[in-house]
Symmetry: D3
């Protein structure tokens, strides 16, 4: 079996600058290969992912890093600019994301699982869910016109696969090297690998897509769950 | 088996003006038939359920529609008046709902499932849970005296039955026509059926109660889950 | 809320002679009080529930004990006579139980949960499920005619409440003493209480119905799950 | 999104002659449209699906009906010939199914959910699981050579959607009429519709694929779960 | 099997002054016995747990009560001082708890389950989760230095065991009397036992740890679930 | 936290000769280190794990391999000798395993998860469950006397971690090399790695214990679930 992403517009909505690399970059690459439009919306600035010694203008540094990484993938980058550690599914935040969604106009959104490890990831999950509906509701007014219909929504794997029971797997065997290259754009974060409290991200990334591959009979895979809710569940 | 609603006071707490029709109107009719007192508390104004062309005073129009519909059912209508798309389980909002509950004094509350499709439905679910406890806590002061004990709480089906695993079913075979009649009171919403982004609500309502009926061996049914938490779970 | 068991015919299908006492005797008493017909079908002889010193004719002793206990409750006793520790959901065994069901002709069956602690309980669970369908299938021929429609099926709590997530509770506050009296009919088993490997059954019974009562806001309760499968799920 | 079934060999393994119609015929049609090879393996003869008045040679009649229906779909029919109501996941039965699988050589198997309503469906589910492994194990010898690798395995929806939480949906909007036509080949079973104990199958079929369509945003859909086990989970 | 708490620093984070008594005091006592450092962080003042007649300075009274109770256990008491009924997982609140955690420097945190009965318990659960990560993130600055690594996190049982499926049990058979003694320090709350709406807390406490003991083969036990998320799951 | 296995007698019950290596050898090593008695009961001969070219006396070869491997670990080996692919939870098979358990007299049993990938693993799971009760039931007579009380029971991880949600993790960081050494004793199976249909087992073993380690914050871990059923759940 093979997914055909032709004519799709796929938007990954992630919390921090280096989350897409770990959880969905291979799937985005698959979609682009089929001719789909792909985008990454990063909600937080990454300003609390602090290094030692401290990087003063960390948010700026990370914005540059994520732009480079998105360039490697060939994805449009959409930056919401919220502060790390304070993300919440509230009316103002929803308004910002609804407008971003209306600009990209996705047919499919990828978002963090509600069980992921970080409070910002869980807030991003709730935000993606609420805005995937509001973006197509004309009563919710932003600068851009509302979508004709809500996008489908897939939940991404959690970091290190904890407490996530996949519905299906996307074969990303051809894109392991791409994922690694993208991750290496985030130099400020990889530097933290020396820190005792920080797993070497690259090893974690490789082990996760390989272990998911083991579960799905391919070299490497990314795992997802479908969101089952009115107008956000597709039929393939 | 048959539920006996005698002496109950049943309060449905819903997010929007036309949610009770779809998810619990038949059960309320069953309760009324047994002599129970029944009420519908609508939390939001329905002001974002916009039509094309735009209805200027939409909140007013919808208030009239829900009053007509509640009249068809013979239910008391309690209106909280919050704005669409902004409902949240917060102290101020809780205070408003606690006071409404203390006025109606239910023995049983019906509320949205935490997995329902709309952010307001999920907020209404959290609000119903928190206030079902606070309404009987004398430390939480509002105009009306606190209840002697919390009401039981049942979670209602989700719209289109997505991601809802029922605990039990209420036979509403005799009230399909009533549900349809009530829904037809919401003219502003049915008009949206022509809209490509809006399922014809009446067909959806009929298919849902019939499919639930198929699962329960009757012509039509409504599905629920019991809330299992201290003092909100009854024994029948 | 209150269940009305009027006109029901309720059949508990249990593995061993003293299982009904622990898990559903109060509910049967409630049904009888409403005028329902009630029965207990015991599948195994109880011949392995050995005492110290050994009781030679243990199966006979236990048959007498269960007859006395059923008499206390006022329930019809139906004995299948299978050997302890060997119960299985197989064609021959199904035939025996289908015939018993067709003789009693229940509208509601109560059966062990598939997660209960004992292999015979789990086999009884599977048997109850398969025969609740076959009893109404005219292609499965036994001495008695097939039912017009399958009975509803409820899963009973597990012994000591392990790994059982209730859907609903039946108030048995008035029948705690009856449950205790029935249990005391099983003298051969209570004698095992002195045995280091055997929990005093009476304390276990009282603690379970009281703890379930705590969860449901009454003095004592029995917990159940509805079976959700074609023609075995009712609407109340 | 769209599944691409090109080069697949899809084998549905069902318990009774008319199960494929209800649960997976639309998906098989989708696969055939993409050029895939499709087959239906029917495990039981359907000999207990008795009519009134009794059909003497029911198994023969039903074999003819299923051949006609498979012809309408353009699927290869593989008949295992086990007796209704006695199906079990045992060594002998496994051997028969392993040989059938090795003859068809599927890349994807569709099988009943382990929670489906009928004991034969559950046995068919267990059989499909065990044989999906054994068919590719050279230590298990049958007439045909073992597969190079096990097929992927998808669990089909349950009849009337009870107790089944879908992972994903296949769009079968174009094949509703085909499903209906295939069902109409089973004249012996449709005759049972007049029987009080038998839901009119055609209405049930239409309501189920339409309700699943409502959940997935299309006119009609079939729902599935992926089997997550070594070498039976694919990546798409 | 036996847990060895040697060298651990165990911090229970609870919503109200008397929650630790019910849900984890025995486990804390076990840890202290092994030489571990133990602490209780109480998030709310208990100011809404009102008595009849009303206690004017209820928050003060309860602070004294909890200090006495912590003294009986030999635990360090850390008081956050939030108002009852208004607890929320928000940036300001997180900052307060992060600082408390950084002062105690736990290797293991015990926190309310996300399914517990009271809105403050659920908010405390979310807060414990978010801060168990932030406390070890140097980008989140408070007065005390960040931890070298996040503590492990265990979810505590719910009050009356509703909707909680334990992962494991801690044997607290030796500490039932201690739990009772601690609870008796909360005189203001025990006085509410006469209140028709208030279960006698002491009986509830005894029944819960005894019933959990029944499930785990000991006289008394406390039940927990492990939190499975990056860096908060330990290996034993 | 640290498990203390002192005075335990730990018996792993596995389906095939090389299953313990993958799923629990590190935990057994941990137990032995604490002075516990450890054993491995292998239920099947491994006679269907055929190689190419065919090994005539495969069962004998594998018996020698597992003896060597158990020797490396320092575990007692108990061989049940059932044929591959035919294991079932039936009275005769139970009798054999009950006798083996009564000879080893475990306080803790480790057994396959009910969701594991192979029919023999699932049968082994059911067998371990049923016999963990029967071994302490004096009514079930075998050559050896019954146990005074049933052992606790833990479910092991599935092969490749599919569909297994761990309750807890055992730190086996010190025993990765031991696991690898034990696996290398199974030369007949490693030879199959060249086979396109057979994952290189050693890589799979290393990836699984490392990925579980990632989830639990250590270099390598093995994952388990507690069995929650009467007298088979311990308190630690």
């Amino acid at each position: 079996m093979r997914f055909d992403f032709t004519k799709q517009r796929v938007l990954a909505v992630v919390a921090h600058p280096d989350d897409a690399e770990m959880l969905c970059a291979g799937t985005l690459a698959r979609a682009r290969e089929d001719g789909a439009a792909i985008g990454i919306c990063v909600l937080c600035q990454g300003d609390k992912g602090q290094t030692e010694p401290v990087t003063e203008n960390l948010a700026e540094v990370r914005q540059a890093e994520m732009a480079t990484s998105a360039g490697v993938l060939g994805a449009e980058l959409l930056v919401a600019g919220f502060a790390d550690g304070e993300l919440a599914d509230m009316p103002e935040t929803r308004g910002v994301l609804v407008e971003i969604i209306r600009q990209f106009r996705p047919t499919l959104m990828l978002a963090h699982a509600s069980t992921d490890y970080h409070a910002d990831h869980r807030a991003a999950s709730a935000l993606a869910e609420s805005t995937s509906w509001f973006c197509a509701s004309s009563g919710h007014i932003t600068s851009s016109p509302s979508l004709d219909q809500p996008p489908a929504l897939w939940w991404m794997d959690t970091v290190n696969m904890s407490d996530f029971s996949p519905h299906f797997f996307v074969d990303v065997s051809e894109y392991v090297e791409l994922k690694r290259q993208m991750l290496r754009c985030h130099q400020s974060q990889l530097a933290r690998g020396a820190d005792a409290n920080f797993s070497p991200l690259e090893e974690l990334l490789l082990r996760q897509c390989t272990a998911r591959g083991d579960q799905a009979g391919v070299k490497a895979a990314e795992a997802f769950r479908t969101h089952r809710a009115w107008k956000r569940t597709g039929a393939w």
